[in-house]
């Protein structure tokens, strides 16, 4: 028969004190994690509102363009050019806290001294400038404003500061604008629709994606700390 002396001894006062201090620290950690979580949640919800707004504006402009050009037919997938290449690419930046943030960059077509065409985005590594897709055969000359538009990134990319200086190259601007699938003179409403969708992509869509990823990360930490708190409370209670 078990005697009192053979039972697990009660925690001494200093052990109980340590457990309580540990619990307090864990609770403080949990509070700051919840703060971060709620901040990211707010970002996500705000981004979704902006997405709804931008896309609605784009759809409305598209509807107006379709309404105005009833003779021509709808601006839809019937006019898609299968040779078109991506004009936007994602860049993934590695942050100091070991998380990753997604950004979107405008693609440029770069012609080197030998005349061969490669694609690159500003700030990427040299190995990424190898062509992944065959370039589209030029069917119409690119508009002047594209050639003169400066190459810019919507978000910084990793290793930008560690890149070696690129060899001298001639930039011939970004890939062909998808608006040209529908002709040279396209309605103002169609341009407005493209602008709305592009703005949605560069802004709130990315914000929502990054906020959603951050939510997942913080959620995992909250679950971990909660588990530790329960374990500690069980140990303190026993």
């Amino acid at each position: 028969m078990a005697t009192i002396s053979s039972l697990t001894p009660l925690p001494k006062p200093e052990d109980a004190g340590e457990v309580m201090a540990e619990l307090t620290t864990l609770h403080d950690q949990l509070d700051s994690l919840w703060e971060r979580y709620l901040a990211h949640l707010d970002e996500y919800q705000e981004a979704q509102k902006q997405i709804q707004k931008q896309l609605s504006s784009g759809f409305f402009s598209l509807a107006q363009a379709n309404f105005k050009s009833r003779d021509r037919g709808r601006y839809g997938q019937d006019y898609y050019d299968g040779r078109t290449k991506a004009s936007r690419r994602c860049g993934i930046r590695h942050n100091d806290d070991a998380s990753a943030t997604l950004g979107v960059e405008i693609v440029t077509v770069v012609v080197d001294e030998q005349g061969s065409t490669t694609k690159g985005t500003k700030g990427e590594n040299d190995e990424k400038t190898e062509p992944r897709q065959q370039p589209s055969p030029p069917s119409t000359p690119a508009p002047d404003d594209h050639a003169q538009r400066p190459v810019k990134s919507d978000a910084p990319t990793a290793n930008k500061q560690n890149e070696p200086a690129p060899p001298p190259q001639v930039s011939s601007g970004p890939p062909r604008d998808p608006l040209h699938w529908f002709g040279i003179l396209v309605p103002r409403e169609l341009r407005s629709a493209q602008s709305s969708f592009s703005c949605a992509l560069a802004g709130p869509l990315l914000d929502a994606v990054n906020a959603g990823r951050a939510l997942r990360g913080v959620e995992a930490e909250i679950r971990r700390v909660r588990k530790a708190v329960r374990r500690m409370e069980k140990a303190a209670g026993s």
Binding site: Q45, L55, Q77, A86, C90, Q133, R226
Partner: protein, 112 residues
Amino acid sequence: MALPQSAYKDREFLAVIGDEHVTDPPSSQKNYLVVDAKTELATIEGAFESFTRGRRDIAIVLINQHIADKIRPKVDGYAEAFPAVLEIPSKDHPYDPERDSVMKRVRKLFGE
């Protein structure tokens, strides 16, 4: 949790699963699926699997929420870091936070 750079270094394209008004310009290897009334469920599921697990060059998958509802178990069960999946509204179906998989996870966390 830190991911190795190899997990995402080649991911640079967006993929879209949506109706006609949403899809991005196509590429040589299609990174989009146009869904209409005749599109089968298996096709949508196949495209989702391909963009999320099959291909290594997709960084973000955009999917209309009303199409995500058709493959809800797959979308809700997706938990990888890359590519990121985002539900977006379409022309005829506005965004509903009640059905968003991200918000479902939030409610589940609050509910515990």
